[in-house]
């Protein structure tokens, strides 16, 4: 049970959020131009990192905003949160 700092609302309990998978996977602008393999890469392939992972979270039972989280999957420590469209802090 984490505590997540929503960039819009501040620190809230894990139970208010829903998880949205790996972040920074951009939907291809021209899907029809892609081969099956390229489309499968976008559709199915995820890194599933042990360590610092960038992922999407939604403050579902709050402001309903999506944002990004940098979380260490080995100990669930959240290192940073940042808004959609922003780059992860270096």
């Amino acid at each position: 049970m984490f505590i997540i700092k929503c960039p819009y609302c501040g620190e809230r309990d894990h139970s208010e959020f829903s998880y949205g998978g790996e972040a920074h996977i951009v939907r291809p602008k021209q899907p029809t131009e892609l081969s099956d393999d390229q489309w499968a890469e976008y559709l199915f392939m995820r890194k599933n990192i042990k360590g610092l992972q960038y992922e999407r979270w939604n403050h579902a039972h709050g402001c309903r905003q999506w944002f990004n989280v940098g979380r260490d999957t080995s100990n669930d420590k959240i290192h940073f949160v940042y808004k959609m469209g922003e780059s992860p802090p270096k």
């Binding site: 984490f2 949205g20 939907r27 489309w39 579902a60 309903r64 999506w66 669930d76 959609m84």
Partner: protein
């Protein structure tokens, strides 16, 4: 029992309050402050349980939550009875009833003890090996195995007790109120922080509770006095809260902890009444201090499980805290100096100590010297090789250890006794530390795992951090806690200190017999012996996790609190692997078992989940509707008349909807208000069909896919204005569709100016269908011309009902002429009643979800989630017509051109007609082309929807079948348990293929 083992004085029990209780039907007496264990021991009762597998007699080993043997069944009442309760943790009260479990006919004479004689053929993995074949008989074996191997009996009636949940936030949580915990609490409380101190026991003081007051001394006080003084000072401080009888079950990440507080289990029945039994605490702590103490280890030798063999620290606690002697003639068996404090305690009370058996060569500790000076006999470098006696120990057989400790030498010495105190050293209680994600390290000299690394704001102090000397505990706690809390509170505690000798460890003691003849128990509760572990290693199990599962060591309800270290030690010795490299098995929550009641709390019956009711709910209720749960919604299922059953009601409702008029409450459908200059473009991207050209005031059916091309949701969307739409979703999909659309808007297409608002609850929806529906609507809704040309199918108009604006859509899910009135939710019931009144002359019939399903199946309309299951494309539904070929992109489009979604031989939705028109198929039945005598048969697909159609007067069904689109007219079979049903593949639309009725 005539023997009275209660001392004449001493202990913390209240001798003025005598309590009677029953054990195995016999009335016994104890005092207020006794546990069931101490009260039974005071009555001279050691034999309280039979073991799990061999039904061996078992007594008390410990005095707290670590107890593996003495688990009992509490209460007789079928609702309140509770199995597997540690007798060492139950406080007695007037009227308590407890029983031994896993024995028949009684704990004294247990027939299944015959298992003990068969034990050579009941080794680890016995069940896996023996009952593998023939597989068919497993169900029969299982019954007998479960019957003979087992624990207590579950309650069979509903739990009548009240339970509670509580959320709590604090700056410092301290777990354990022993010397380290109390010291830490004092520092934390003085710092002004909000502190919570919890302990699982009724009393505070931890290991000090059982301490010998002649030996242990703090601030020139006896241990009890010091605890009293510290506790009373603590509770005066306003910023600290102290809880007893509160066990931390789970320690999660981010310092989130679950604890269970026992509020009334120790009270008598009258005082329990109308009170909350247990409270589950959900605590968020900024900082956590673990002061969970340590657990004493037993010794592993032949028949080390006999009643009357007890942990030395437990014997000390029974003596000093409860005023109970566990025996009259005692042998102590040790590898450390701590057991000598027990010897001094017993000797001080005039109890005869026959001998102390010590595996060490010598010790120069102060307590040892004191024992020597008192003339207590010590046998150095000796070991117990066997405990004699059956239901109670009557002698210890002792032999000298060889120089290398690998074998025993010389003659057997028999020492008669009625109590054997064992002390194998202490194991830090690191369970909560590891639960929280902390990493352990093994100290190769001191033979224990200690907290090594944590990423949380957390600290371990005292014995759980591997410090056992009282003076060191207090000193070290001050230093660590001051640093941890950034405080500077001075340590003014004066602790009497004494010199201690070393500690020597032998995991599995050598024996004079071959190992096959020896029964040395490692896990008492699961009856796993050292031989079982050896066997597992011989059979090739290497990983500690595998050995654990194969032998079941550490898997009982005590989770190996006693067993784990020895199991690891024996594996380490045999496999010649260092303990540190071997690692430990994972400690999982809960630390001690929790009740389901506490976990569930108040979330029972109607509070289990939210119930959503439509504005017309009470009309349905008043008119006898049966309800169906659809997600959280209660939907009217059917409205039985004159004791109709469901089938008859649904047939009647379905007929009326087509012949006269039907009315359905469709308020539960998800409704999303979509506004913004890019609303049309947005719909183009989320639905498979095109939306740009939809005129204002028109409705369109849309199919929504996942990015993988599979059907996700469907519904009708209406264009209310240039940049304004109202989308409907399935009842169950409302929330997920909303969040999916938000996801795309916020993350993929932030450039689109579109705003979504969920308005599901804001509108009530009354759907009126049937040939007379137009006439009814004309009577109810003003300001709308209902002529077919003016208000055609798939269009929308705004009307007025009694000055209240409403939206009317002419859309149909039944295939009949049909209108949906959407009105502000508060007016829902009134509008429904108006329609009923206006429809009376046309025999308007309310119909529920079941008739709705039947009607749409006649028409071949799919229900997402019934005909689809997340693996179905629009093509599979034979709905290619709804997929735009022109649109450049929409969610899921690219996936429709993947090799898998385009391949031949996918399943397609088709209709099925039974050979016998009265035969109704079972939904979910498998369909085959070729019948064989017995399975397996090649399955082509399954029935998704099936009804008897009152309008077609025959059975109809929808199904998904491999290559179904090419099978029209083909005969297929449905094998049932006792028969085979013949079906013909047909078109999925059974009713009004031309659509003349809905366009009427």
């Amino acid at each position: 029992m005539s023997n009275n083992f209660r001392l004449d004085s001493g202990g913390e029990i209240n001798r003025t309050e005598r309590i009677s209780f029953k054990f195995n039907g016999k009335t016994l007496f104890g005092y207020k402050g006794d546990t069931l264990a101490s009260a039974l021991l005071a009555n001279g009762i050691h034999l309280v349980a039979r073991s799990f597998k061999y039904h061996r007699p078992r007594g008390f080993l410990g005095s707290g939550s670590e107890e593996p043997n003495a688990i009992v069944q509490l209460h007789k009442d079928k609702a309140k009875t509770e199995p597997n309760i540690r007798a060492t943790q139950i406080e007695i009260f007037q009227g308590l009833e407890a029983r031994s479990q896993n024995c028949w006919p009684s704990v004294n004479f247990d027939i299944s003890e015959i298992n003990n004689f068969f034990s050579p053929i009941l080794p680890a993995g016995f069940y896996y090996k023996t009952f593998m074949w023939p597989a068919k008989l497993w169900e029969k074996y299982e019954y007998f195995i479960r019957k003979s191997a087992g624990l207590g009996i579950s309650p069979t009636k509903r739990d009548p007790d009240l339970y509670d949940h509580k959320y709590y936030h604090c700056e410092v949580l301290i777990i354990g109120s022993g010397p380290a915990g109390l010291t830490a609490a004092m520092i934390a409380a003085k710092s002004g922080k909000k502190v919570l101190l919890v302990d699982e026991k009724p009393e505070h003081g931890g290991s000090l509770v059982g301490a010998n007051s002649e030996v242990t001394n703090i601030d020139n006080k006896r241990p009890k006095e010091w605890i009293q003084k510290t506790y009373s000072e603590l509770v005066k401080i306003k910023n600290i809260k102290v809880l007893n009888r509160t066990s931390v079950a789970a320690y999660h990440n981010y310092n989130y902890l679950i604890m269970m507080q026992n509020l009334t289990d120790h009270l008598n029945e009258n005082d329990k009444k109308n009170k909350i039994r247990q409270r589950l605490w959900k605590v968020r702590a900024k900082k956590v201090i673990l002061a969970t103490g340590s657990i004493e280890r037993p010794m592993i030798f032949d028949c080390n499980d006999r009643p009357g063999i007890m942990l030395s620290s437990a014997v000390r606690k029974y003596l000093n805290h409860y005023g109970v002697k566990c025996g009259n003639s005692v042998v102590i068996f040790s590898n450390n100096d701590d057991a000598y404090e027990t010897a001094l305690s017993l000797h001080g009370k005039g109890i005869k100590i026959k001998a102390i058996i010590d595996i060490r060569q010598e010790s120069q500790g102060d307590l040892v010297n004191k024992c020597i000076s008192l003339g207590i006999k010590i046998l150095w470098k000796h070991t117990v090789v066997k405990a004699e006696g059956h239901k109670k120990i009557n002698a210890a057989i002792v032999m000298k250890l060889s120089n290398d400790n690998n074998s025993v030498v010389g003659n057997k010495i028999k020492i008669t006794c009625d109590l054997l105190c064992v002390s194998g050293g202490y194991t830090p209680a690191v369970h909560l530390f590891t639960q929280s994600g902390g990493k352990l390290a093994f100290d190769e000299k001191k033979f224990y795992f200690y907290p090594y690394k944590t990423s949380l704001d957390q600290l371990s102090v005292g014995a759980c951090a591997g410090i056992f000397n009282l003076k060191k505990i207090v000193h070290d706690t001050y230093i660590k806690v001051n640093t941890f809390l950034k405080t500077n509170i001075k340590n003014e505690t004066v602790v009497a200190d004494y010199k201690s000798g070393g500690f020597e460890n032998i995991w599995l003691l050598p024996s004079n017999k071959i190992s096959g003849k020896v029964k040395s128990f490692v896990d008492f509760q699961n009856d796993a012996t050292a031989n079982d572990i050896k066997l597992a290693l011989r059979e090739g199990f290497k990983s500690i996790e595998h050995v654990k599962r194969y032998t079941t060591t550490g898997m009982a309800t005590d989770q190996g609190k006693i067993a784990n270290m020895h199991a690891l030690g024996i594996i380490s010795d045999i496999s010649k692997t260092k303990m540190g490299e071997l690692g430990t098995t994972t400690f999982r929550p809960p630390f001690t078992p929790l009740t389901f009641g506490a976990l569930v709390g108040r979330n029972v019956k109607q509070f289990f989940d939210i119930t959503r009711e439509t504005p017309m709910h009470y009309w349905h209720k008043d008119n006898g509707a049966k309800f169906e749960d659809v997600g959280q919604w209660k939907r009217a299922w059917y409205y039985p008349m004159n004791n109709e059953n469901m089938y008859k009601a649904v047939q009647r409702e379905s007929k009326a909807a087509r012949e006269c008029a039907g009315i359905l409450d469709a308020s539960t459908l998800g409704k999303i208000d979509i506004q913004g200059v890019d609303a049309s473009e947005f719909l183009n991207r989320v639905y498979t069909n095109a939306w740009s050209k939809l005129g204002i005031g028109k409705c369109r059916y849309g199919l929504m896919l996942n990015e993988d091309g599979m059907v996700y949701d469907d519904g009708v969307t209406t264009r209310l204005g240039e940049n304004h739409y109202i989308m409907t979703t399935t009842t169950g999909g409302a929330a997920t569709v909303m969040s999916k659309l938000e996801d795309y808007l916020q993350t993929e297409w932030p450039e689109l100016k579109v705003f979504l608002t969920s308005v599901t609850d804001h509108f009530a929806t009354v759907s009126v269908c049937g040939p007379h529906s137009r006439k009814i609507l004309e009577k109810v809704v003003k300001n709308i011309n209902f002529e077919d040309q003016k208000f055609p199918h798939m269009s929308f108009n705004e009307g007025i009902i009694d000055n209240i604006k409403c939206r009317v859509m002419r859309i149909s899910f039944t295939g009949e002429l049909s209108y949906e009135i959407n009105i502000q939710a508060n007016y829902g019931k009134a509008v429904w009643e108006k329609c009923m009144e206006a429809g009376k002359e046309f025999n308007i019939t309310p119909y529920g979800t079941e008739a709705m399903h039947l009607l749409r199946a006649e028409k071949g309309f799919v229900i997402v989630g019934q005909e689809t299951d997340g693996t179905v494309t629009p093509g599979d539904l034979q709905m290619d017509w709804i997929v735009s070929k022109k649109k450049y992109d929409f969610i899921g489009k690219r996936s429709l051109y993947r090799s898998d979604t385009m391949k031949e031989g996918r399943k397609q939705m088709v209709g099925l007609l039974t050979k016998d028109p009265n035969e109704i198929l079972e939904e979910g039945s498998q369909i085959v082309a070729e019948i064989k005598k017995s399975p397996p048969m090649v399955m082509l697909g399954h029935v998704t929807s099936s009804y008897y159609s009152p309008n077609l007067k025959k059975s109809i069904a929808l199904a998904v079948i491999k290559n179904g689109k090419n099978l029209k007219g083909k005969k297929l079979y449905i094998p049932m348990k006792n028969k085979v049903i013949e079906v013909i593949v047909s078109d999925a639309v059974f009713w009004d293929k031309e659509g003349s009725r809905l366009n009427a």
